[in-house]
Amino acid sequence: MKILPSEITPYKNYINRRKFIKSSIAAGVFIGASTTLKASHLAEDNPFNSQLDESDTLNTFEDITTYNNFYEFGMGKTDPSENSSNFNPKPWSISLEGLINYPQVLDLEKILNKVTIEDRVYRLRCVEAWSMVIPWQGFPLAEIIKIADPLSSAKYIQFVTVFRPEEMPGQKRRLLPWPYVEGLRMDEAMHPLTILSTGLYGHDLLNQSGAPIRLVVPWKYGFKSIKSVTTIKFVDKQPDATWSMLAPSEYGFYSNVNNNVDHPRWSQGTERRIGEFKRRKTLMFNGYEEEVSYMYEGMDLKKYY
């Protein structure tokens, strides 16, 4: 896929827009700002955003940042926005480890100097059968993979969320085995739709959204998009992933959005788009079938769910 220069939001503009939004929050006119952004996104002919259709309207900044699953801050949907104020995402560094030529600890600032921040408007489909449309800012994960320069033996990547029980009250209790881990196959990780996000709505990620940097894999259930990433490890075997370790019959390693594979608790045939009353049909690979299905050709997706 080719990206035209005109489709990339320059980092400078991103910073400016961020300032604009911050000041407009202060002025209490944030809703105005978000509709402006929405209009500009829909007008842009970004190939990565083209999977959205007319009915996919952006969820509000408030919806996106007050309804979260981030058990590090508690199990309730509003816990992350209520309990995350003590979390300090700055300074931040990411450790690149495992089967690579350049293992290193990278400061986030350094990473941001090397990459171009882009706008990506993606659907997010939670395994709990609700969904949102989110305007992310971020850069392809492939950029980091290039920096790490993996050996040919590296077949998978494991991601680790930061472990800071003092700042993350949920980690003081054994809600999940901490730290949270997730994984991708190398081709999935290299896919141009897979991004590391640092912001949404032109605003730095808030703590509840996985500040300062999180994965976004739009064709997989939301829990694959691990938050507050601190380690990226290249491995030769399929790595552990928290939910699929806890309940392997419910959450597979792949966890592609798939309306044909039912979950024991939630029907995956339909979903409730946050802000809508009636459920809508869930799309195969969350609507990104054309872009990603080639990676799973010949695989029995009922077995590798």
């Binding site: 007050t66 199990m75 949907k77 806890l246 608790r265 029907s267 409730r272």
Partner: protein, 201 residues
């Protein structure tokens, strides 16, 4: 110790306290202040309230056997009916708001997903209790038959707390506590109804 008469006086207050949340949540639903996913929130609130009231009914049955707490029996029927009220609202929310009367889907969902099967069965088990709740019917049936019917509260309670247990993704402490309470009460019943009479013989 509270006398039955004073307790009767505060009964309306208990009535209002238990019915109030349903008004509050209806208002919040219309008002848009039930959070980002209001249908899910409403369904969770109603279901949890229903389950808590079912367990409260069970606790009243056992506790009112103590002389000092005998007055409690006076509100058991009211609490039990409210439990059914909240469970029914919970089920109706699932049918009308969550799935918008997609009956064929709902039937499949009930048959296919064990946690929904359990919740549905619990609802069904509560129906005979409600039908036989008026005093007239109790007199017609006779206390012994009536009591046997009302033992259905135990499977209903167990099924609905297992329904809750299966729904929660992690940290199942709250549903586990409910299941524990029900099992303790069952054992207590079993001890007094089966073991003690045998020992006496």
């Amino acid at each position: 110790m509270i006398s039955t008469n004073t307790f009767r006086k505060i009964k309306p207050i208990i009535f209002l306290a238990i019915i109030a949340p349903s008004f509050l949540w209806s208002f919040q639903l219309i008002n848009g202040s039930l959070g980002v996913n209001p249908i899910e929130k409403l369904m969770d609130n109603l279901g949890e309230m229903g389950l808590r009231l079912i367990i409260a009914t069970l606790l009243i049955s056992s506790l009112s056997e103590f002389k000092k707490l005998r007055f409690l029996i006076d509100i058991r029927r009211m609490i039990g009916l409210f439990a059914f009220f909240y469970v029914t609202c919970h089920f109706l929310t699932y049918i009308a708001l969550d799935h918008f009367f997609d009956i064929s889907f709902i039937i499949k969902d009930i048959l296919k997903r064990p946690f929904i099967t359990f919740g549905f069965l619990s609802f069904v088990f509560l129906i005979p209790l409600v039908i036989t709740s008026p005093k007239k019917i109790l007199k017609k049936l006779g206390y012994n038959v009536w009591k046997k019917i009302h033992y259905l509260i135990y499977p209903a309670a167990l099924l609905s707390s297992v329904h809750f247990f299966m729904l929660v993704r992690a940290n199942k402490i709250e549903p586990a506590i409910y299941i524990f309470i029900i099992l303790v009460l069952l054992l207590y019943r079993f001890y007094y109804k089966v073991i003690v009479p045998r020992l006496a013989q």
